[in-house]
């Protein structure tokens, strides 16, 4: 106990002491140790703590680290909500990799042993938990230290781990904590910080970002086949490549894919900036006098100077749609071309607040544009007012 405390106190006291006092360091230390030891009587009385460790996708525990006080009975509930099987093994300080290697060496015996080797380096462990299962384990942590925890399922141990600190002190900054997996330690720069500024975000690719710029990604308020397009670093829109229509537009930035690219891909891309227009009326086209809702098929897009022109079918009608920024920058222009449209088409804009629509052709009434049969080109300009 005394050795432990002095080992921990020495460097700290040493660095705080003025040089002249260092000669009497020994005396000082003994005092310090005594005071520390006495104070322990109350501060280190055994306590109970329960920690729930959830398994996130992408081989991560939700807690990359946590702290308990020394002399604690720790109860850990492992909650495996992943789609893979996992365990958690708590090891002695600095023993994670050794235990992971020992687990791998179990070879074909591993499965029967829950991939937990017979090792004096292990403090406690759960069984292998199938997806959806939980298990609770308890153990006593007496001494101060950094106790790794790790999933020893084959292949997981090198990435799926964390650190339990037994300490009364503040933890080191997360980003500098080498006991935490790199992904959870470093995170990635948050592009959202740049919103509203004209500074282009750092490129997440092996080339500089150029605009217009496009990502197929998971977007909020859109089907799963979404395309996010930035016309410039500040003006963006979302096209639904499943339902084939423009869903919304926003100002102030583009998207932050950090969370979507990280982990298992479940998270959506984040919109950077604020949405100023959203289609609230649903799929806009109706075909023929009977106003039939056409069957749509997405056909792809062509880039001209990086600007996409989307192609899709409305029944037998070929449509291309290009979204551009208006000359004043206060709205967007949607340029349509149609082929094989012998009947009238209807396009519903609705009456969204703060947007004024103008049209190159057709009759516009009550939020619906009637597009004459055979129209080859149509421009719809929506201006923010």
């Amino acid at each position: 106990m005394i050795f432990k405390v002095s080992a921990l106190c020495c460097p700290k006291i040493n660095s705080y002491l003025p040089g002249i006092l260092k000669q009497s360091l020994k005396v000082f230390l003994i005092c310090a140790v005594t005071i520390f030891f006495l104070s322990n009587q109350t501060a280190f009385a055994q306590r109970d703590t329960t920690i729930t460790l959830k398994v996130l996708g992408g081989l991560q525990f939700d807690l990359p680290r946590f702290a308990v006080r020394p002399n604690t009975k720790v109860t850990v509930i492992l909650d495996n909500h992943d789609d893979m099987a996992h365990n958690v093994v708590f090891t002695k300080p600095n023993s994670r990799l050794k235990v992971v290697d020992e687990a791998l060496k179990l070879g074909d015996k591993g499965a029967k042993m829950d991939y937990v080797p017979n090792s004096p380096l292990i403090l406690a462990h759960t069984k292998i938990l199938e997806p959806g299962r939980t298990e609770s384990i308890s153990f006593l942590i007496e001494n101060e230290g950094i106790y790794p925890y790790v999933c020893t399922y084959p292949g997981h141990g090198y990435v799926m781990y964390g650190a339990m600190y037994a300490t009364t002190k503040a933890l080191p900054p997360l980003e500098k904590d080498l006991n935490v997996p790199e992904g959870q330690r470093l995170g990635t720069p948050n592009m959202a910080d740049h919103s509203g500024h004209h500074m282009a975000p750092a490129s997440p690719h092996p080339y500089p970002l150029e605009y217009p710029l496009l990502y197929r990604t998971f977007m909020p308020d859109c089907g799963p086949a979404a395309i996010a397009v930035a016309l410039n670093p500040n003006e963006s829109y979302c096209f639904d490549a499943g339902k084939c229509y423009l869903r919304y537009a926003w100002s102030g930035g583009f998207v932050d894919n950090t969370d979507h690219w990280k982990g298992n891909g479940n998270k959506l891309a984040k919109i950077v900036g604020s949405v100023y227009w959203k289609d609230e009326t649903g799929f806009p086209f109706k075909a023929g006098k009977n106003q039939k809702i056409p069957t749509v098929h997405f056909k792809g897009y062509h880039l001209t100077k990086r600007l996409p022109a989307f192609r899709y079918m409305l029944d037998e009608i070929s449509v291309s749609e290009t979204v551009k920024l208006s000359a004043k920058g206060n709205g967007i222009i949607r340029e349509f071309t149609f082929k094989n449209n012998p009947d009238v088409l209807f396009f519903t804009t609705g009456n969204p607040a703060g947007i004024k629509f103008t049209f190159s052709t057709g009759k516009y009434k009550n939020g619906v544009l009637e597009i004459p049969a055979g129209t080859a080109r149509l421009t719809i300009t929506s201006t923010r007012i």
Binding site: Y115, Y301, H302
Partner: protein
């Protein structure tokens, strides 16, 4: 000249005088036969490799997790962007020097550089005629083309580790939602065939996470799948039209399948419906997550295994060689590691042979243990001592070696340690090894040419994996050791 002879003589003398001197000679190892080279990567690339290929002009093409398609010239060693903005591209098929097909999450896309500036400008949707619930686990793989020009892709099941999105693509059916992995939109859990008429049709069902499709030399389609629910261990299937391969969730999209929750069917019933895998990869110590099967079509430029298939694995520093044969009308066989030495990394997600016969490997560590980057493996020209073929006989196995073997070590019974076990087909995640038993080798006979041993085993039982741990068998002249010694034969059917 005289000096040379003297030198040789003195070396020979040393070896003759000191029997242990053999041990002092550099140990025969995989690195003697293969060279592993790291391909330099461009700054700023997160090299989570989803797909790789070669253009007819020799450029290497690779797709990465953040949607980039990059071209690398092995001559100039320069990288250049070809396309961008894709959603988790996990497969590529090269069409010509300006055009590729890429499988991304939402669709199969034809990506073309129409103006010849080296960058793609047209992204044509070839097919998106399958469902997307927005569940993260709905990855899509392929395409590969058969000799007639039909394309094949495979569609992952969704995971109950996450839900689905408020808006989905395709018809929703909740019937298979109970269970770990589910198929709530068509045709999740299927291998699909895209005919030349452009229509995407369901081809075979019963897959969970089929991260790899490939054809063998005869045009048989093989698809890998990952250990999990209904997969006691990872497997490779020989996939034929209309068949069911074991994971029940996708069955709900099969025509005439009754309206029942698939996992409520008796396991025995499902078991009787399924077509068994050709190869099982024992979980953990052999493979954790097998990836893409490729045919060694190099005509010998990559060593002695031309005509055989290789497959990668996410967690092992080797690729796996597949030794398949037809037994009683079905394909089955053995898997054996093919080691390349210590420089090889893990995370071997994608494999492709270069025009020069070298093997390029694209590595990935996304959400899984692995590594990032690209490695090139080339054969140095010497033949290693390895098992060329493992063939079932009525009473045991024949092992054919790449080289004549040393009679003494080859005839030593202790050099062939067999175990057998089986993995259970059940709903639970993975399976332990059941009924594990050592199987005695009763006799070993060496062929007159010294290249084949015939092993007679105490018992041959169908439905088991026969695992062979070979000992230190050496080549005829004693200077080469058997390098890859773990072989696992999936004995589905006996040889009659």
């Amino acid at each position: 000249m005289t000096m040379k002879i003297l030198k040789l003589l003195s070396v020979a003398f040393l070896f003759w005088q000191v029997p242990e001197a053999k041990a002092l000679a550099p140990k025969d190892s995989a690195a003697t036969y293969y060279e592993v080279e790291n391909i330099p990567l461009p700054d700023g690339l997160i090299a989570e490799t989803g797909a790789i290929g070669f253009m007819p002009d020799g450029r290497f093409v690779a797709c990465f997790h953040r949607g980039e398609v990059m071209m690398y010239s092995p001559k100039t060693k320069k990288w250049k962007r070809f396309a961008e903005g894709l959603h988790d591209p996990l497969g590529v098929l090269v069409v010509n020097n300006h055009e590729i097909l890429v499988m991304q999450r939402p669709e199969l896309t034809r990506i073309t550089d129409t103006d010849g500036d080296g960058e793609a400008d047209d992204y044509q949707t070839v097919t998106d005629d399958f469902g997307l619930s927005g569940n993260y686990h709905e990855f899509a793989f392929g395409p590969i083309a058969d000799k007639q020009g039909n394309l094949y892709i495979s569609l992952n099941l969704a995971s109950n580790g996450a839900g689905i999105r408020p808006e989905i693509r395709g018809k929703y059916d909740s019937l298979s939602r109970p269970g770990r992995m589910y198929s709530c939109v068509p045709y999740r859990g299927w291998v699909m065939k895209l005919g030349k008429d452009g229509k995407l049709k369901p081809f075979a069902v019963g897959f969970r996470s089929p991260n790899g499709l490939g054809f063998d030399a005869e045009g048989k389609l093989y698809v890998s799948d990952n250990q999990g629910d209904w997969l006691g261990t990872s497997k490779l299937f020989h996939v034929e039209e209309g068949k069911f391969y074991g994971h029940p969730a996708g069955l709900i999209w099969k025509e005439d399948f009754p309206r029942v929750v698939p996992i409520t069917l008796p396991v025995a019933k499902l078991d009787s419906m399924r077509t068994k895998e050709s190869i099982q990869f024992p979980h953990g110590y052999f493979a954790n997550s097998p990836t893409q099967p490729v045919l060694d079509n190099t005509g010998g430029k990559f060593g002695p295994f031309s005509g055989q298939m290789l497959i990668g694995d996410m967690d092992h520093k080797y690729v796996i060689r597949l030794l398949m044969e037809e037994v009683d009308g079905a394909m089955q066989g053995a898997c054996v590691p093919l080691s390349f030495g210590a420089k090889m990394r893990i995370g071997n997600n994608r494999l492709v042979f270069a025009p020069d016969g070298s093997l390029w490997v694209g590595q990935n560590d996304h959400g899984w243990a692995g590594a990032r980057g690209i490695q090139r493996i080339s054969w140095k020209g010497q033949t290693p001592l390895d098992v060329m073929a493992m063939n079932l006989t009525p009473k045991g196995f024949d092992l054919t070696f790449t080289l004549p073997v040393d009679k003494e070590t080859a005839l030593e019974l202790a050099n062939y340690k067999f175990r057998r076990f089986y993995y259970e087909y059940h709903q639970a995640y993975g399976s332990k090894q059941f009924d594990v038993q050592d199987v005695a080798v009763k006799s070993v006979v060496l062929s007159p040419d010294g290249k084949k041993v015939s092993l007679e085993l105490a018992e041959m039982k169908p439905g088991y994996v026969y695992e062979l741990k070979a000992g230190d068998i050496t080549s005829e002249n004693g200077n080469k050791s058997l390098i890859n010694r773990l072989l696992c034969y999936s004995l589905n059917r006996l040889k009659k």
